[in-house]
Amino acid sequence: MASSSFRTDYNRVAGLGSAREGAGHWWAQRLTAIALIPLSIAFVFLFGSTLGEGREAAIETFGHPLAALTAILFIAVGFSHLQLGLRIVIEDYVHGRKLAFTLLILNVLLCWGLAAVGVFSVARIAFGYAG
């Protein structure tokens, strides 16, 4: 390492680069992508074959623990992946500083909020508390 470097030893050893987050986003996006390969296949068939089949059938399907777990994992991991992806899209295409910051914040809040609503709803159905 050249002696003219302005980076501190700590900064270098932490390996987080100038953006101070290293490969965290990149890694999380790949990890969620890999998890979504089996999850999206399972969820498409579960959800697709239940859609339009009536309320009783839907409650019965997602009352099964494996179906409920698949739906919960798909929603949780899916929204996590969506949030990571939308962040890149906002960073790349929204140039107004105020608008970009507003959208970046809304992205995190809405993705977490919707994921929570989804997971809670599936749990409520699976535990037999559907209204």
């Binding site: 068939f45 859609l51 089949e53 929603i75 899916g78 159905i125």
Partner: protein, 131 residues
């Protein structure tokens, strides 16, 4: 953008005049299908929320998603999911350092389209009692 000497000189034709390169099309479609699936994520959460609340709410959500325009949107979302799925696998393979030469990229792009068509048609056939 606005240099001091820009004047009224003719510009050489650029971005708009060339045929879209395959890689550019694949890449922008990956982002578009990703952003588009945000709508799908909202619909899925709404469907589970409605199912957990009451029969009336469920009829509204499920009815809208299985109406004629609803079916159209859901099929588009299904195709978007499989496109993003296939192209995402290409990205995961590239992340290992494999398949990055021109011929491989072209072949995997075509394989991605083939996979998208096959998975969309196949999954539709398997779940189509709802349509």
């Amino acid at each position: 953008m606005a240099g001091p000497n820009e004047g009224n000189r003719p510009l050489s034709p650029h971005a708009t005049i060339y045929r879209w390169p395959l890689n550019a099309v694949m890449s922008i479609l990956h982002r578009m299908t990703g952003v588009g699936m945000a709508l799908g994520a909202i619909l899925v959460v709404w469907w589970f929320l409605a199912l957990s609340i009451s029969p009336g709410q469920f009829r509204l959500a499920d009815g809208l998603m299985t109406s004629l325009p609803g079916d159209f949107v859901m099929v588009c979302l299904l195709a978007a999911l499989w496109y993003h799925f296939c192209n995402g696998i290409r990205h995961l393979i590239w992340d290992t350092g494999a398949g990055l030469d021109e011929g491989s990229v072209r072949r995997s792009a075509l394989a991605g389209w083939f996979g998208t068509a096959l998975l969309t048609a196949g999954s539709l056939a398997l779940i189509s009692n709802g349509i």
